[in-house]
């Protein structure tokens, strides 16, 4: 057991070493969400009436944090597909290490990268007027929540990466699935303007419950979400935890099984 944890950490260390050896990756991974913060803040900020004190950026920041960590899945999927293609997974599988170590190490590594991204985004947000009003403890809790969500999404990425075996396919698949998921939510605009069916979808969308939970923790009223008195919109924290548990509960065993049988050719 201790050995397995050690093996996971070696793989995690590999991920983090990559960031030092190829810093461009993390730089671009950070510039993009920071740019989104600025674009949304100044393009939509004027057009969408937020109805909260401090303006649109208070509602935007939780949304964009959640969108960013949701995309952890992309890094995991593409990275693993590359490792498959290059035969690295074969080498790992020929080593005397636990079957789960490579994928667990990977998801931890990918989630850890989010720390850097979130810090930079928070600073940019702060610079353009974001002011969480709930106090240090709850803000800290919100960031832990975001990291946990990134970790659980990363497990979906493991299954995708090991299944498609081609980095470019993984990339495309992730974008066409995660982009709609993050936009069909309360992250950037009120859901009340959507067609009825989409409203229901947005209501139950894990991205929405995450965003609502974060707004709650940051002390911002969730003006974009409450279109119905449904359980998820009333209890976003619990619903989000449930979603994370479900995602990990389903995708972790599937991914480990997939990894056991994975073989690059």
């Amino acid at each position: 057991m201790i050995q397995t944890i050690g093996d996971c950490l070696v793989i995690t260390k590999r991920q983090l070493l990559q960031l030092i050896r190829v810093p461009e990756v993390i730089i671009f991974a950070t510039i993009q969400p920071a740019m989104f913060v600025l674009l949304f803040r100044y393009v939509f900020g004027g057009a969408i009436s937020s109805g909260v004190q401090g303006g649109y950026v208070q509602l935007l920041m939780p949304g964009i944090f959640v969108q960013t960590v949701a995309f952890t899945l992309a890094g995991t999927a593409v990275g693993l597909a590359e490792d498959m293609q290059k035969g690295l997974i074969d080498r790992f599988r020929s080593l005397p290490i636990a079957r789960s170590a490579v994928v667990i190490g990977r998801t931890i590594g990918d989630s850890t990268q989010n720390i850097v991204t979130l810090v930079v985004m928070a600073l940019v947000g702060f610079a353009v007027g974001w002011r969480p009003s709930s106090g240090f403890f709850k803000v800290f809790l919100a960031f832990l929540f975001l990291l946990a969500f990134g970790f659980s999404m990363s497990w979906i990425g493991v299954l995708i990466g090991l299944s498609v075996r081609e980095a470019r396919v993984a990339q495309n698949l992730v974008f066409i699935s995660v982009f709609p998921l993050t936009f069909l939510s309360n992250a950037f605009a009120p859901t009340t303007g959507m067609p009825r069916v989409l409203q229901y979808f947005a209501e139950w969308n894990p991205v929405s419950t995450m965003v609502a939970a974060c707004r709650q923790l940051f002390g911002t009223p969730n003006h974009f979400g409450a279109t119905a008195n449904s359980w998820p919109s009333q209890n976003p924290l619990w619903m989000s935890l449930l979603y994370m548990a479900l995602i990990v509960g389903i995708f972790l065993p599937l991914s480990v099984r997939k990894y056991k049988n994975a073989s690059s050719k």
Partner: protein, 325 residues
């Protein structure tokens, strides 16, 4: 003691559509080198993957170091090293990063894995490149590092899947040098190759495989004598043909094959250079000037034609295409 034993292995892909192994059996004596020689798609990689515990066979059994690969794969992984067709390394990391990472994954301590990485980099002449990312390495350097990564725990049995495929002649020579050194150190080695020359150079024993079974087994001398060994080929002008045939026949006491159209005389030779000198001297004395004269070593194609009656590639391209998933 047999270090590797494979018995009646079968493996099919795509619900039986593609038969990669069709009852393959072989063994490797401890401390010796076996080359598995065959064209693309013959089942070489599938065999290595089964022995290295990456795939399970449909039927049949295999053991490495006396341990069953299907029943006890974890124990097998403790004693094997594997270096595949493509250098399986993290390209963004340096050579040093890669080796220390694999050292840790073999459960060496931090300092032991650093020490081992240093030794291996030194041994494979990669010390200077140690701190550079792998993506800046040449093909030969990658392969050497890949091989180094498979030697971290000093494996009892080493599998090399086409260690020189895709390398330029210089890279191939370097790789052969490195493998020669290893073999002197007494490792049991199973390597696959498409090149008869490579098998000849590196291995004690050769197993020729085709369509997933072993079709011939023996030392390279035995195989070559089965194929006919080296041949002397001589091309002369047509008016000299019959004289030259008579001359070759008397010089070597073997009946040559004659291609009238090509004006080519072919004759199997045992002591090839002596035979070449002898024939040249006699031709000179008889004032016959050869248009072309050469010693031909049997190629993989020759081996295949003589063992199976078909050319290697043809059999294979089709299967290889199907084999791609």
């Amino acid at each position: 003691m047999k270090s590797v034993i494979a018995e009646n292995l079968t493996k099919t892909y795509r619900n039986g559509e593609v038969k990669a192994l069709a009852g393959l059996s072989l063994d490797v004596e401890e401390g010796t080198v076996l080359a598995v020689l065959g064209p693309n798609g013959a089942g070489k990689t599938t065999l290595v993957r089964i022995l290295a515990t990456l795939l399970t066979p449909d039927t049949g059994s295999a053991s490495v170091g006396g341990i069953d690969v299907v029943k006890n794969p974890d124990a097998v992984r403790q004693i094997i090293g594997l270096s595949g067709q493509y250098a399986a390394l993290d390209e963004t990391l340096t050579g040093w990063d890669n080796l220390t990472m694999f050292g840790r994954l073999y459960h060496l301590s931090g300092s032991a894995s650093k020490k081992r990485a240093e030794e291996l980099l030194e041994r494979f002449s990669l010390t200077e490149a140690a701190k550079r990312p792998i993506r800046t390495y040449s093909g030969g350097m990658r392969r050497r590092l890949d091989l180094a990564a498979s030697l971290i725990i000093k494996p009892k049995v080493l599998f090399l899947d086409e260690p020189t495929t895709g390398l330029d002649p210089r890279g191939r020579q370097e790789m052969w040098g490195v493998i020669d050194e290893l073999v002197k150190g007494g490792v049991t080695l199973l390597l696959t190759t498409q090149y008869l020359e490579e098998a000849d150079h590196l291995a004690d024993d050769i197993a020729v495989i085709d369509h997933g079974t072993v079709i011939a087994r023996g030392t390279s001398d035995v195989l070559k004598s089965q194929v006919g060994g080296e041949r002397l080929e001589l091309v002369v002008e047509s008016h000299n043909l019959s004289a030259a045939v008579a001359l070759v026949k008397s010089a070597l006491s073997v009946d040559p094959t004659v291609d009238d159209g090509m004006r080519r005389i072919t004759v199997p030779v045992s002591e090839s250079s002596a035979a070449l000198v002898k024939v040249l001297r006699l031709l000179d004395e008889a004032k016959i000037h050869p248009l072309d004269i050469a010693l031909k070593r049997p190629s993989l194609d020759d081996v295949f034609i003589s063992l199976t009656g078909h050319v290697a590639e043809e059999a294979v391209v089709e299967v290889a295409k199907k084999g791609r998933k």
